[in-house]
Each structure stands twice: as structure tokens, then as C-alpha cells.
Symmetry: C2
Subunit: 814 residues, 2 copies
């Protein structure tokens, strides 16, 4: 019992409330008949029974025999804590779906709350439709129970195997951003979103409440969050359950919502409170939408949300032995752990399970009785059957203009300097224009800085916050837009994930150094996609496209904190079925690559390209051929024509390709007799053996490009070790000398930064000479000359604060 239940109303306002007792609610009308309350309770009890069954039973699913330890799983796993609250919300939404013919998905935010989702899916018949062996009968229920948290079975989160789920929730914090991503551009959709109060403490969740500032009530659907004040995490109270009512209410008003409270543990009154509150919220959502849609004027209402305070492990035993269970953190996981070894515990469990009266709710075959079944909607109105949560089935192909139309003219490689990103911006603009309801661009306040501002010619940034007169001066804000910018990589990524998982397409653009902020989110999305591919009924969704720019080699002026190209290492650890990494060296290659990525499905595509002006190398025809192969010899930069080269100069990444080509030019100038092969890699996974990644080259093909016995100076965009990790199995890997970012940087010029890390043209040429002892004296002379040139360039940079202008150009000495 909480210390504060005997306080006065005034005191209650200044401290946190107990979750126990008769319902207290902002809206608390008795709108249900006693019969309805009874039925809702029965249905709820049926789901609670199923939740317990999943956690405990491998046999005797309907307790038609007395419970014995033979029926109990040997290893007890699963989580009871949030199940009741989640099921409670689901069931109440069912009522409203039926009443108002709503189109609804359910996002399960709290950790390990899958039993609530699974039990409802099973009762709605969806689970058995999708998995016929988990049929709606005794045997099906037994299998349904046993598979839960059982080897070879399913997990305790809303994993991809779960019908109606597009949000697993294994890592916490993304329920709200996923929900918003899913409802953007689906004007009729409501995402009922359970937010755990543990999850609510995470940073990503804490800022995602602001997503309403990007929701247009005319063209987008709505999110109805239910903040589940369950009270406890694994081993601690939750912050939001231990602050005053006043603070709690203020917080959500401050976030831009209208919070409605439903608090208590007494089921009949809680049903009345939840029914009237949720109905009020749905009506309010529809009223806001109607107002905006009728008037054609979008605005930002303080959208309704529900704060549901119930005991953790609600409806379980208040005490187990000497310890609190219901309403305490001990109810988090398996509440009674010693049922196999302790007879009293086994009896307690049996009594508890029977208290849900399974014999009343399931007929003799083990199927939910018809009078309860009718509480759930039918067909695709069933939450667990909503196609939005299997978004691939709704996905329409992106309408793509011909990327060749945006080609830059390149008569000769290495002459013209242009901004690849700005050129891609034109292509992106027209993709946006042709897919106004199914494609969005996401970015943490960087789309303009990343030189993609051309998109604003056809669509602005969504902004439902207040507007100022200055905004007309290039603010590019609109109530309805296609670009989504919030200074939260987490929120951007969460929106994009929700948007693609619900059947649409998108692109995240970000500074390279800060993409590590969402390492864990991208990891989790990779895992989701990987598992989806194993689930037969999941249709393919659009790839998650991450375009990284403002890259390390042009972060010389921002300094060390802005230099980190290591996201590729994180991505490269994920499953080869899912991840793709591209480093197009110039504009035409970027166009070709982006065309490929945006058309693809079920991948995480990472594309790295800088935003500054850079040398252009390939005309469109060459670029297409090169990108299609993913790696290739650039004959125009090589002079080993058809023969074995003396040395291979290789590169992967735009700036480093520039330097590598310049090094090649220097070498050919100083050592004209040297036979140099120039190789460029666009598709990073070409480097790995074919058995390890579908893009990998065979050893034969690898040798044909890199040789297996000649020195190779490989200039790499990112940390050099990634290339070694990809090529360690290749014959001749010892000859591959990789240069890349060595975690050395300060406030520099681009040249200085490159020199620090040994990736500048001079250092590369010197490295080549060092690996060609047969050059003898000629090599030594060239060496000396190059060192001199490097010092002169360096000194100029140091004194002027900028690189020698001529460094941006270089000329083939032939």
C-alpha cells in the first residue's frame, strides 16, 4: 500500500498517487452497461489467462487437469509486468473500432510486453490464420503457449513474427517516433501507442513527444499515446510515477498534448473510466481533424493522450510470500519463480490462473466463446490484422525520374569541380515531386547545409509550430511539407523507420560524424529486417536509406569532434542479407547509386558522399558501368594497359579518390616509366569474399582487379582497418597498404588533415615509392621531390589558413 493514499486531495496534487483503488479519471462517465463491463472483464481475463499460460505452460493449456509440474516449462521466461495495462488499452480500442469503424494499429512500447499483444491477436483469430498450427483449439493453444520464449519459438517482444506489429521494442525509446512515422500521410489511421514509463525515461522517447509539431491534421493520421504509468522498471520506480500530479500534467501540456488521466486498479470502475476517456480522446481527434479538413486550414491542436496509472503486474497476487508483487517491481518478469520446486507456489499459480475462469471463456474445443469474440472487430479492422503493420503489402513502387537526366557532363576525368550533393538534390527534388504522398526526406536540421535545398523548389519543411514573418525570407516552412527536420537524429530515424515499415519510402540525410548517435537504432532496424525476411507473410518494405555527408575529410575546420567515419564499422557487423554500403566517388556515381538504393527493398543502404565541390571523374555511361560492377579499374587513370602493373593505386570514397588520383598523377610525373593501375571501389562489400556477402567478389575476380602479388596503396574514406577486416582472407592481403582516418585531427585545412592521417597525395605517392624498392635511385629522387612539394603546400596552408588553390586541381602529366 502506498504511503500517500490517505492524503487529502490537495496533498495528492503535490505528490505522486497510488495506482490502487477505484478509478479516478479526467473523464469518467458511466457509458457502459453492466453487461458490457462484464464482457469486457471476461475478455480481459481471457487475455490475462493467455499471458500467464505463455509464461508458464507447456501442457494442460486450459487447466482441464489439475496443474502439475509436468505442465510447467522447465525454464520460466517472459514478462508479466506490463501485460495487463497493454491488453486493457487494446480491448478498449476494440470497442471504439467497432463503434466508429476506426483504422487502428497498436504500438507496444513497454519492454517485453508481447504476451498482451499475442493474446489479443490469438483471441481475434489472426494468430491462427497466420500460423495455422496455433489453431483456436486446445492443441493449438498448447503450441501457442509452449513456443513463447522457448528455443526455436518466439520472443517476449513484439518481434517480426507478431501479427500487427511494426515495432519490436527490444531496445526502448522509439514507440512514439515509430507511431508518428506510421501515421504521416495516412489520414485515417490512429496509432494507439503504449508508452512504458520506463521507456519514457530514455532520451529518444523524451524528445519524440514533440512530434506533434510535424503532424498535419488534414493529411496525416493521429497518434493516441497511452503513457502507461506502470510504476516500476526492472528494479526501480519510474520517474514519472513518482512526481506530483501537477508536474505530470504540466509536463504533457508542455509537450503539446492534452493529458487525460485514468488511474486505479478496480476493474469495473476502470472499465468505465477507460471507455469514456478513450472514446472522448478518439472523438477529440476526429473533431480536430474535421475542423482542419472542413476548413482546409491545418493547425496544431493539443492532441489528446491518456495517462494510464495501474499497478505493475495488475491483477496478479499483491504479495507472493513475504514480498510485494502486484504494484511493485517484483512483478516485472516471472512473478512466481519456484513453481516447479515449491508446492505452495504451484498451488498459488493454479489458483491465480483459475481466477481468470478459462473454462467460462473458451468452449469445449478451446475456442473463445462467441459472445466474447464479438467484442473484437473483424477482418482487417482487427488491430492485429491491420495491413499498415505489414507495410510492405501497401507499398507502391516509387515513381522515379530517369537519373540520367541529371548527369553532369564529364569530358575528361579530374577537370571539372562540382558539388555532387547539389546535383543529387535536383534528382531528389523530382522524386519528391512525383511521390508527394509516399516519400519524405528526414534530416536533423541539415538538409540545406547538406546542399539538398533544391527539394524546397517543390516541397517545404513541415512545421506546425508557430510561424513568424521572417520565415518568408528563406524559411521554407509550411504546414504541409515533405522535409522533416528536428534536431534529433533519434526522432528522424524513428520517423523514417515508422514511415517505411508502414509501406512508404524515405531518405535520412545527416552529417557523417553524428550518425553514431543512432548506431543502436540502425542496429535494431537491421535486426528487424533480417528477421522479417524469415517471416513468410511479411511483405518487403522500402530500404532504409541513410545518406551521410559533411564527411570527415571536410570537417577540418570544425575539428576533432566532427571527425568520425566509423558508422560503417557498425553497419558492416550486421547481417550481409541486410546491409549495403556505397561510397560513390563523384556526382554521376552518386546519382546512379541513389537510384539503385531508392528502388531497393529490405536493405539498410548507407551512402557516403561529401557535400562540397569536388572533382568529377566519370561521365554517366562510365558511372553506370562502374556502379553496376561496384569496383573497377579506371583505364583512363592507369597506364598498365593490359599488362601486370607495378603498383595498384586504389580508393574508396570521394575525397580520398581525388587524392589517390592526384598521387597517381604525381607518380606518373616523377616516375613516368612506372606502370600504375588505378582502382576505385563504390560498393564496399565487393572487397569481402563472395561466401560472406552476396556482393563479394570471387577470389578470381578480386585478383583480376587488385592482383595478388603487387603492392596496393588503398586510400579509404573511413578507418583503414575496415578494409583489412574485409580483405584479410584475400591472397596478397599483405600487399594491401591501407590509408584512412587514423583518429588524428584538429583545426586544420583539408590538406593538413589529410597529411596528419597520411591520406594526402604526397603521402600516398611516398607510400607507393616505399613499396617499390626496385626503383632504386629514381625512387629516392622522386621521394625527395615529393617531400619538398608536400612541405611547400603545408607551409602555404599554415600561413594562409587555407589550402593552395592549385591543390583542388591536378593535371595528368600526359
Amino acid at each position: 500500500m502506498a504511503t500517500n493514499v490517505e492524503k487529502t486531495a490537495e496533498e495528492l496534487n503535490t505528490m505522486s498517487l497510488s495506482p490502487f483503488g477505484v478509478a479516478r479519471a479526467t473523464v469518467n462517465a458511466k457509458i457502459l452497461s453492466d453487461e458490457e463491463v462484464k464482457k469486457l472483464t471476461d475478455y480481459f481475463n481471457a487475455t490475462m489467462y493467455l499471458c500467464l499460460g505463455m509464461i508458464y505452460l507447456k501442457d494442460n493449456p486450459l487447466l482441464r487437469d489439475p496443474l502439475s509440474i509436468d505442465h510447467i516449462k522447465r525454464r520460466l521466461l517472459g514478462h508479466w509486468g506490463s501485460d495487463a495495462g497493454q491488453s486493457f488499452a487494446w480491448i478498449h480500442m476494440n470497442r471504439l473500432i467497432k463503434k466508429y469503424d476506426l483504422d487502428t494499429i497498436f504500438i507496444s512500447g513497454p519492454g517485453h510486453g508481447a504476451p498482451a499483444i499475442l493474446s489479443n491477436s490469438y483471441l481475434e483469430g489472426v494468430y491462427s490464420e497466420v500460423y495455422p498450427d496455433k489453431s483456436e483449439d486446445v492443441d493449438g493453444m498448447r503450441r501457442f503457449f509452449k513456443q513463447f520464449s522457448f528455443p526455436g519459438g518466439i520472443g517476449s517482444h513484439a518481434t517480426p513474427e507478431t501479427p500487427g506489429s511494426l515495432h519490436e521494442g527490444g531496445e526502448l525509446g522509439y514507440s512514439v517516433s515509430h507511431a508518428f512515422g506510421a501515421v504521416y500521410d495516412y489520414p485515417d489511421l490512429i496509432a494507439l501507442t503504449m508508452v512504458g514509463d520506463g521507456e519514457a525515461e530514455t532520451g529518444p522517447l523524451a524528445t519524440s513527444w514533440h512530434s506533434t509539431k510535424f503532424l498535419n491534421p488534414i493529411t496525416d493520421g493521429a497518434v493516441l499515446p497511452v503513457l502507461h504509468l506502470n510504476g516500476y522498471k526492472i528494479n526501480n520506480p519510474t520517474l514519472l510515477a513518482r512526481i506530483s500530479h501537477k508536474e505530470l500534467e504540466a509536463l504533457f501540456i508542455g509537450y503539446g498534448w492534452t493529458p487525460y488521466f485514468v488511474e486505479g486498479s478496480d476493474l469495473p470502475t476502470m472499465h468505465q473510466a477507460m471507455a469514456s476517456t478513450m472514446e472522448h480522446c478518439v472523438k477529440e481527434i476526429r473533431a480536430h481533424q474535421k475542423k482542419a479538413r472542413d476548413s482546409g486550414k491545418a493547425f496544431r491542436p493539443l492532441w489528446p493522450m491518456i495517462i494510464l496509472r495501474t499497478p505493475k503486474g495488475w491483477t496478479g497476487p499483491r504479495k507472493i510470500g513475504e514480498h510485494f508483487s502486484e504494484g511493485f517491481w517484483r512483478a516485472h518478469q516471472v512473478p512466481i519463480t519456484d513453481v516447479v520446486t515449491n508446492k505452495t507456489s504451484l498451488e498459488l499459480l493454479e489458483k491465480w490462473m483459475r481466477s481468470y475462469e478459462p473454462e467460462k471463456h473458451f468452449d469445449k474445443n478451446g475456442k473463445l466463446v462467441p459472445e466474447l469474440r464479438e467484442l473484437a472487430p473483424t477482418g482487417t479492422r482487427r488491430i492485429s490484422a491491420n495491413p499498415v503493420a505489414n507495410g510492405g503489402v501497401l507499398r507502391r513502387k516509387l515513381k522515379m525520374p530517369d537519373f540520367r537526366d541529371y548527369a553532369v557532363e564529364v569530358k575528361k576525368g579530374g577537370v571539372t569541380s562540382l558539388g555532387s550533393m547539389a546535383i543529387f538534390g535536383g534528382f531528389l527534388r523530382d522524386i519528391v515531386a512525383q511521390n508527394m504522398n509516399t516519400f519524405r526526406v528526414f534530416g536533423p536540421d541539415e538538409t540545406e547545409s547538406n546542399k539538398l535545398g533544391k527539394v524546397y523548389e517543390v516541397a517545404k519543411k513541415v512545421w506546425l509550430g508557430d510561424h513568424f514573418a521572417e520565415d518568408a525570407d528563406g524559411g521554407n516552412l509550411e504546414l504541409q511539407g515533405r522535409v522533416m527536420e528536428i534536431l534529433s537524429e533519434h526522432t528522424c530515424e524513428g520517423w523514417l523507420e515508422g514511415y517505411t515499415l508502414s509501406g512508404r519510402h524515405g531518405l535520412l540525410n545527416s552529417y557523417e560524424p553524428f550518425i553514431h548517435i543512432i548506431d543502436s537504432m540502425v542496429n535494431q532496424h537491421c535486426k528487424w529486417l533480417e528477421k522479417c525476411a524469415e517471416v513468410e507473410w511479411r511483405a518487403e518494405v522500402a530500404s532504409l536509406n541513410i545518406l551521410l555527408t559533411s564527411t570527415v575529410w571536410r570537417q577540418d575546420h570544425n575539428g576533432f569532434t566532427h571527425q568520425d567515419p566509423g558508422f560503417l564499422d557498425v553497419v558492416a557487423n550486421k547481417s550481409p542479407d541486410v546491409v549495403r554500403i556505397y561510397l560513390p566517388p563523384d556526382a554521376n556515381c552518386l546519382l546512379s547509386t541513389m537510384d539503385h538504393c531508392l528502388r531497393s527493398s529490405n536493405y539498410v543502404n548507407v551512402i557516403v558522399a561529401d557535400k562540397q565541390d569536388h572533382m568529377q571523374f566519370l561521365n554517366m555511361e562510365q558511372a553506370i558501368a562502374h556502379c553496376t560492377k561496384g569496383v573497377g579499374i579506371w583505364d583512363w587513370a592507369s597506364n598498365d594497359a593490359g599488362q601486370e602493373p607495378d603498383i595498384v593505386m586504389a580508393s574508396c570514397g570521394d575525397v580520398v579518390t581525388h587524392e589517390s588520383l592526384a598521387a597517381t598523377a604525381l607518380l606518373r610525373q616523377h616516375l613516368p616509366e612506372l606502370k600504375i593501375r588505378f582502382v576505385n571501389v563504390v560498393d564496399l562489400f565487393k572487397l569481402i569474399p563472395e561466401v560472406e556477402h552476396p556482393h563479394g567478389l570471387s577470389d578470381k575476380a578480386f585478383k583480376a582487379v587488385f592482383t595478388d602479388d603487387k603492392p596496393c596503396i588503398f586510400n579509404f574514406h573511413s578507418y583503414p582497418w575496415l578494409v583489412h577486416r574485409l580483405t584479410y582472407r584475400r591472397k596478397g592481403q599483405h600487399n594491401i597498404h591501407v590509408r584512412g582516418y587514423m583518429e588524428k585531427g584538429n583545426i586544420d585545412t583539408p590538406l593538413e588533415l589529410a597529411i596528419r592521417n597520411g591520406t594526402d597525395r604526397f603521402s600516398l605517392a611516398l607510400a607507393a615509392i616505399d613499396r617499390l624498392p626496385s626503383l632504386g635511385n629514381k625512387g629516392s629522387h622522386a621521394r625527395e621531390a615529393l617531400l619538398n612539394e608536400q612541405i611547400i603546400a603545408k607551409n602555404f596552408a599554415f600561413h594562409e589558413g587555407m589550402d593552395p588553390v592549385e591543390l583542388t586541381k591536378w593535371v595528368w602529366p600526359f
Copy 2:
């Protein structure tokens, strides 16, 4: 001009306000004399002048000559946007420091706001004391200007080179958590913390406001946040500047603060408003502290905070050409960019710079005039000279009990099964007990789950939220505690960083899979430490210790989302001067490793060890010897005594060592004539050549352990490629066959999970046989037998939902 300045008061309450005009403030008393206002304005103008000088000038620092393009830097870099607001807050705190003898640090949250910090440090004389060549004269000022954002110089953030800074702010989002980390256990300290409204949109910042629930007003200091409603980010309005006053106020009340508003652009009235408001806040802080300290009763007040709304680029030109500058996003970076090529622009700049009247504020030598200098505090009361921001100088050595006292008895390796983490828990408990004011344990609600609950025997979890009666039932909550738990890895990490940077010690414990959440924070901290080592006056701080547990190999039951050991790859990319990675195989090794890490300084130590019961291998003497070497042959598990082995079985990590030893046992059972060497690696960087990391083995030493021609089956805790990345230069690296996590998992038993990834004993033994063709028929027979055993074990696991009990033990066949 904003659209809403002509609204009624009531309307104003429902929409966002213009930053322009006469000051509006919650507390707005005229407490300053006209003379004081004038002096504050002069001082402020002097700082603004210095900010502009840094951005633009390489010569003519005091504009004693007419400004010409020769005086202008060739490459204009740096950020003007937030400088004015930050300097304004700093100056007003100076007044209060003097008045109340306050102990204050300044945390600069907004991005690229260093000019404000640097200019104040320079005016206080600290900069010149620390860097004598940046003297307080014309020449020193010239050098001070030129170095800013200039190659070889300093950056536009509050980098380690900045006196008074412990928070760089290159990556946004951590100002508040750093501030709280710094004030915990420093009861007199006030951290004046500027929070950018861009930064405020990030997830980590959004949740860190809740840090007050962990702040004890008796034993901790205070954070005074100034949310700087600057209005714009790089290219967008900020969310919090575009919501109504009502929402804004509610938000911070909801977060648990008392917000005080200071809004406007008119300098004289703004000075009055800020002076009276900040003084009010400081008094309120002191009153809360006094109340708690006098009564001995800690409580959670709604701490004061300031919301400072000023135009972005405040005091700059409102318009530049046709475009808005002050009060718009165009003021973010360099406001006038074409001063070298456009004479009108140069004139505008000169006029603007002269408007700050440098000739009045600096004497003929170029030093701040005495009547302004007296506005700043003196000695270590100067914010930029506060030793807390160079925390190493305050750091006291941790009092360490003898870790040997916690040793577990190991008479024979591989017999006893114990929980290493629980054993370390005892050591940790006593470290806590002996360092009650200088050591804290941080964790995202996992310390108990991670089996470190023994610490609660001496100190509980800090909890200033409400308390319930149930908490007595193992809640372990106290108003003053040593364990800090919030379900936000970001906040935990930020607190720990702040705590160590200000001179104390700590440990973060976390589930391994979710540590990727703070990849970017750890990256940034590594970079901070790396740079600190180059700054002479920075004293060494305690290492950042990250203990990862609940590791991948025991996340079989939680499934795929909980399996990610890739944090090591992220860390391994950071500078070898800073990062250390340890994978102790058992309890005694963990004790020895933790002792070493907790005593160390200026590193990021990552320690990986599982929390479940596992085999113990080494007695304490062996463990110390083994950990000291970092890698070694385990003679007791080898039978190659003094000879060349046929094969090397190697491991790194606890669970994988268990499997690798079991594989060795199987091999020796089935193939008794085989000479096997068993090698274990504790210190991961031993694998890399000595030239690349100070811990790296010489090639000779490496060969002595691993051989350079014998097959080696290396069982690795994490993704296998990391071992290849570390060893690719080693002779014989082709013989190293690495097993590790291959991103394959589901709901499994531990055995199943290992089999999926090829890290189980059977797979390892089979891999060994495959690499020993000379075994001939004997090998084939052993192969068959092992495959059979694997199938039997697998089937058992599948049917029972748990591993065969005998698998947890294995017996040496000799």
C-alpha cells in the same frame, strides 16, 4: 519583425513570442544603478567585439587602422549566433560571484559558442595566464584572434584547450547531464549551464532535465540552467521558441523546475531583468540548500531555471543586404561572408565592430580598462579559472581495498561455477564504502540485474522522487545514495563524464547490447581525453570505466535484439592513447582487471564480463600474472609442454573461453595424441602490433604465444572480424581461424545460440580437426563422434527448452 508582437497579452500567452523589444521578465526589479548598467553594457560590448575579432581578424586587432581586407582572415569560420546570449549570462553571473562569493563553473551547451567563452576568459586574464603568448596587449590580442578556427589553432567549441571548460559541446545534447555530474558531491558549486534551444531538441538533453530527481540539496551543489531561446538552429526555427508561453512554462514545471523568463533585446532593460532574475535564482538555490542543510532533511525543490529569449546573433545587424540576420537563422555562423570581395560588406563589418567601441574598453596597450576589469571576480573565483573544470587537479586517489581479499578459491581450473559479477560486487561495495564522496556507480536500472546488488549493503540508490511504503521491501532507495539509476544510458554516461571530469571517480554498468546507445558519447569522450593529453595544464582525470555485462552469449532467451557485442569495434577505432579493452575470463581476472582500471587515469576502459554463474579457471595468483601479461598460455589446459603444438586453441571472453576449453577437453578425449596449446587473451590490444597500440605485443612475443605457422582456433566474445582487424599484420594470420558472434540469433538456449554462430565446443573441436588433415582417419572418426554428440545435445535443448545440465560442466580427460 515577428508576426505576433502586436497581439494582446492573452493572445501572447497562447503563441510564441518575439525575441525583440524591451525586456519582459518574471522577476524584473531595477536593482542596478545606471552606472552599473553602463559598465555591464561596456563589458558585454568588449566581449562582443572580441567574438567578432576572432571570427574575422588576423591583424589590426583593435581597429586602430581603418579596416582593410588585409586584416581579414582568408577563410572565414566560426559562429556568431549564440555568442551574445552566452556572454550575457556569464557576465551576469560574474556580478553574483563577486556579490556572494560563489563557486561557479560555466557549461556551454549551444553549438560552436566558444567565442563567448574565450572572450570572457581573455577579459578575466585567465587566457593570458594559461597561454602567455596570448597576452593582454595588442599583439596578444592579434594572436588570440588569429588562432581561432585557424589551422593549428583552436576550434569553435569549448575544446579542452579552453580554460574553464569541461564540456566541449561538439556533439549536442549533454550539457545538462555533464553539469549535474559536475555538481554531485560538490555542495557549494553552482554550474551555470547554457542550454541551446537546438540542443534542447535532442533526446539526451530532453530527458536530462529530470536529473533533479537525483540531486540532494544537502550534499550536492546546484545547476542553474539558462535555456537560451535563441530561436534558430542552422537553418530552422527551434521547437521551443515556437510554442506558446503557456506550453513552455508548463514543460519546465513538468520537468520539475521553476522557470523564470527573461525575454527581449533592449540591452539596458535586459540587464536589469537578467540581474534581478539571476540573483533571485541564486538566492532561491541557496534558500533551498539552507533549508535542507539546516533541517538535515533532503527534499526535491522545484529548482529555479532561466529561460532567456533573445534574438539569434543579438546585437548584430538586423538585416544584411536583403536578408534578415539578427533574429534569424542567417546569424548562425559568419553573418557577413563576402567582406573580402564586397566593399560595402567590409564597411558594414567595420561599422558594426566599431559600434562596440573597442577604443573605450581597451587601454593603449590593448588591455581591458581597470574599471571594467573589476567587474570580473578574481583568482579561482573567475569562472574560467575554476579548478573544477580542470578536475584532475582536484582528484584524490581512490582508496582501494585489496582486491585479493575477494578472491575465489580455485584449486583446479574449470570445476567450480560462480558468478564473477557478484564476486566483483563485494569489491565494488567496499570501494564505495571507502570513497563515499568521490565515487559513484551509474547504471540504467540494471545494477541489481547485473548482480552488483552487494553495493546496497553500504549505500543505496539516490532517489529524490516520491517514496512509497513498498520501497522498504528491497527498494534500496535513499535521499542520499551512491548508485545512480535512470533508464537513460545517455544520462548515466553524461553524469559519469561530468563526475570524472570534475575530479571524481565512477563506474557505469550496463547491458552489453544497449551500450551502442551511447556510442557517440563515448566517441566524444575519447576525443576529449585524447586532446586533453595534448594540453599541458590539464591534469589527468579518472578513467571512464564501462563494465558491460548481460552479454550476448547469455541473451539467448531475450533474443536477437539483445545480442550485440559490437561496442568494442567502435571503441577500437579511437586513439590508442586513450582506449583499453579487457575481457577477463573469470572472477579473479575480473577483480584484478577492475582494480587496474579503477586506479587508472585518462583512459576509457571497457570491461566485458557476463553476470551469470560461470566456470572459474585461475586462482588469484594465476589471475594476477595472467592479467598483468594480458595474454598467455594456460599450461594447465595445454599438453604441448615446451614443444611446438599441433594446434592452438585460443579464446577471449568468459563464455567463449568456457567453450574453447570444453572443445580442448573434447579434442584431448577423442584425439589424445594431439598436442594442443591453450591461449587466453584478457587485454584485447595485445593482439595488435606494438607500433599501433602501447599494449600491443611485438611480433616475437606474438609468435611465442600463437606460433606463426600452426592453425589457431580463436573463440572470440564479439564479432570475429575485430580479431582479424587487429592481427592482419601478423605473420601467419592466415592460420588464425576466428569464431565469434555472426549476427545469428533467435530465442535459443545458450548452446543453440553458440551452435548457430559456431562458437560451441563441438563446432570448435570440429573446426580444429578440419584444419589438421594429417589426422587422417582418426580425425574422421573423431569428427563423426563429435557431430553425434552435438546433435544429441541440440535435441535435448530443443525439447526441454534448456541446455543439458552436464554441459555446464566438463572434465579434463586426464
